[in-house]
């Protein structure tokens, strides 16, 4: 990614950015951002990570012109953040949805559409699509003041997308969202990324960032502590993970022997479990197929057409898998779709058995947690232990083999 973008003009550029908050008397009290150097390039999905109070939101607010730097420079599309021409290309979802309580969802999106000078037909089209996309069609005529936090976050996402932004800035986007909404935000990010849009994701929910970001920066104490691609930062070169289809015990033993012959050792052998997110999405998808009523937000209807989505979500698990398959076959041309809720089997990795030192590839489907993070599958362990006992009986029967 870095090679691809190295020669491009950065979308966001911070040079020696410093922000000091003062007290009532103008005395410097808090150094929120300290000499920040940061560049975000076109088409990047950039994650800004850090614990609470690390300066993430302050940096975002300086990029948006909501705060002015104490020193240093922030540029967006090569211009000052206060430039209205710049702002017309930005979509911003703040850390909480600060909406007009008495407007309903349609009025809210129509209002923001007017601020972007969209004509009436376009406003109506985008409003309809976005409300459908965020699953608020049924609650669309209710004042947003009556929405739950998650529903307000959904409308917050919709307003950030109303102008089809070139730069989407999401500040803690998944806070308060159910897994469907969380998944949806990730879908939107992925689709915008595929369309060459730039996304800045500011979060302390590491799994969200890890799932979608090309590059991340980690802030602490107002300073940039680390920056780089997700692969580079997360890759553990001291461990190799192999995934395969169903293997019988004998084959597992053979693999184990091959590994041990190469001088390494097997840390664990187990069957991967499904992710809770995938399970949740499957249940909601089933409920939707059964046409169960809800007064809250409905599950995703895909991604709005004007954002590059198909505008519909696959109805069945099979369709989801087909959609996911299509995505892998035609990554550049196919229309984006809803996520496949089942982890894929990465058979190609098996072919590389024996070549342990070769750099592993980033999974192309939904990301699985690395092996050390998983709880060991006790059934597998029991079988392995049993197999081990059979191979090396205490009475020395193995020697007979």
């Amino acid at each position: 990614m870095m090679d691809r973008v190295a020669n491009l003009q950065p979308v966001v550029e911070c040079i020696g950015l410093v922000k000091v908050f003062q007290d009532f008397w103008g005395r410097d009290k808090v150094l929120a951002v300290d000499n920040l150097e940061m560049q975000i390039f076109p088409g990047e999905i950039f994650g800004l990570l850090g614990p609470n109070g690390s300066g993430k939101s302050t940096t975002i607010k300086m990029i948006l012109g909501l705060l002015y730097p104490t020193s240093g420079v922030a540029r967006v599309f090569g211009r000052p953040p206060t430039d209205t021409a710049v702002k017309s290309r930005i979509g911003f979802m703040p850390e909480e949805s600060y909406l007009y309580r008495y407007l309903n969802a349609y009025e809210t999106l129509d209002y923001y559409g007017r601020l972007f000078r969209l004509d009436r037909v376009e406003r109506r089209k985008r409003t309809e699509q976005l409300i459908d996309m965020v699953g608020l069609k049924r609650a669309g005529r209710r004042p947003v003041g009556t929405y739950s936090k998650g529903m307000a976050r959904r409308i917050g996402l919709a307003q950030a997308l109303v102008n089809d932004p070139d730069l989407l800035i999401l500040d803690e986007p998944t806070t308060g969202l159910d897994p469907v909404g969380t998944r949806q935000i990730k879908d939107v990010i992925e689709i915008l990324g595929q369309r060459g849009k730039t996304v800045v994701l500011c979060s302390h929910l590491l799994a969200d960032v890890e799932d979608v970001c090309d590059r991340v920066a980690i802030m602490y104490g107002g300073k940039m502590q680390a920056t780089g691609s997700v692969d580079d930062l997360l890759q553990r070169r001291d461990i190799t993970e192999i995934s395969a289809g169903q293997l019988d015990e004998a084959t597992v033993q053979k693999v184990r022997q091959v590994i041990e012959q190469s001088g390494s050792k097997v840390i664990g052998v187990h069957h991967p479990t499904d992710r809770l997110e995938a399970l949740f999405l499957r249940i909601v998808s089933q409920a939707q197929r059964d046409k169960l009523q809800t007064s809250g937000a409905e599950s995703s209807r895909g991604v709005s057409q004007f954002l590059g989505g198909t505008g519909r979500q696959p109805d069945t698990l099979v369709e989801s898998l087909v959609e996911a398959g299509r995505r892998h076959e035609e990554p550049a041309t196919t229309q984006p779709s809803a996520p496949a809720p089942v982890p894929e089997v990465r058979t190609e990795v098996l072919k590389k058995l024996g070549a342990q030192q070769e750099a592993s590839k980033k999974p192309t489907g939904p990301v699985e947690s690395p092996i050390p993070k998983r709880e060991p599958d006790k059934a597998v362990l029991d079988r392995l232990l049993q197999a081990g006992r059979e191979a090396n009986p205490p009475d020395g029967s193995s020697d007979k083999k």
Binding site: F21, V30, L67, T84, F92
Partner: protein, 569 residues
Amino acid sequence: MFTFGSLMGLCTVVYVIKHAFGRGSGEIGGWELRGAGQRIAAIMRTTIAEGLRAKVAGGFAILILISIPLFCITATGDGTIKGRVQMFVSYSMGFAGFLLAILTILFACRSLSVEIASRQIYGIVSKPVPRWQIVMGKWCGVMLVDLVLLLLAAVLTYSGTHLIIANFKSQLRHDLVTHGSLTPDQAATTVEALSEVKGVGKSGMESPLISLFSERLGKTQEEVGVMLLRLPEVMRVNLRRFDELRRRVLVARSVISAPVPDFTEAIDEYYNMLKEQNRLPTDWTMERIRRQIEAELTGAFCSIPFNEGRVWSLKGPAPQEGTGWVMSLRFKIRAPRQPLATQYEGITLEEDKLLCLWTLGDPQKPKFQPKIDQVPINNYEEIEIPQDGVEKDGTVIVGFENIDPRKIEAIFDLPNDGLQLLYRVGPWELGFSQALLAMLIPLSCLAAFGVCASTFLSFPVGTLIVLTLYIISSSMGFLADSLAVTKEYAPPPEQRTLVYETRRLTVEALGWALSIGDLDPVTKLMEGRAVGWSQLGNAAWKFSLLKGAAVLFIGVLTLRRRELAAVIV
């Protein structure tokens, strides 16, 4: 000032609207205009929607809906139909103006401060909306709510006025049938004729009512007189008052003030005479001497001692033939001491009234019999002038003689509104519309103060401050009086201390900075005087376009400099 100011204002407004709503680009001093109209309109709509749904405007609308009908039922005035209508119009529009001022302060002060406090402003500022458009959008939203509520108050007042008149006519029809022995049809014809009376109102058998009723009913004037005498006394008085109401209240009249001559030459002459006679005070400066001479000359011109007279020539518009053209002479006589009731050669001279003689036309060849009357002092009075009392070019020559044997000076405050000529320029609806526009001018200025305050103050603090400023601006006269900086208390320039000058400058600066209007539309509406388009233009330029824009500009600069996500630690 009017021509230049209005032209400048008009050009600015046209330029801004053209570029704000047009497709091309345009800017003033780096302030982008392209697309401004749509964005300002969007912010305005949201401000109004928020205001309506937060029940702020709704609460005030309910107050108006309750109070004005209540005034319509309870207003009595001096007990006559004229007094009742005047009091109702004065109370309802005055109360609506007060309510709208309070609403404007509340609404404007919360417009931005609440959005900043609740961070809703992030949603606007992160969009391509320059901050001046945010401020303008909020101001427009407040003004539109004001306009709607003012129209509501206007509709209720207008309807209420006509309801009072309809009730009066209904009562008159009833009295004409029961006491005047007329048939219902005759009573209806008589009541209808009331709206067509022409000419100067007079009492007794000379009243134009008698001749018109006589003509419509086919009765002699004596029969009509007898029929009217059978009516209850209250109704008889009301018949005359209703005629006055039509011609003096429910009408739009323009005003010409009696000219005050230029005393420059007289001052020079007087000064030189004193100098030649070596009578100039040695310890006075020349300006002080000249000012004193001017004050004395003006006082002498405005004061009419016993047995002296004055003739004024006022130039009005040429009369329109056959329209029942009526002009009115409006005046207020002041007296240096109170006239006490007394008897003089069999005549009862009433308390607080001066015996005066009025003539119309050339005093040497008066067109009408001189009118001798006892005129109340310190009250505005009107004398109607018939069409044939006006010269063909519209000039009215009025003579006044002080014949009160109590030898009290009659003083006309000519530099202010001591003597004026009023003439009809249109129906009451015209005067009413102008009064409504005039009421919007101070509201626009107040909205600008409120929106400006909301850019840097929280809602309660901003409201408190703007409300205080509004109260101060409404009581500047009282403030000046209590700080003893009015003309009456002003010491000679040489004796003025630093403390006095500080007080005077403070009051003047406050008056200049806080004044939000000088048209007094409710009083004018009550007296049947039109505000006038030129006065409206001047006030709009001075208070809305100059002061309001200047205050909004300060608000924009504040908002532009303000870090909306700043945290004070």
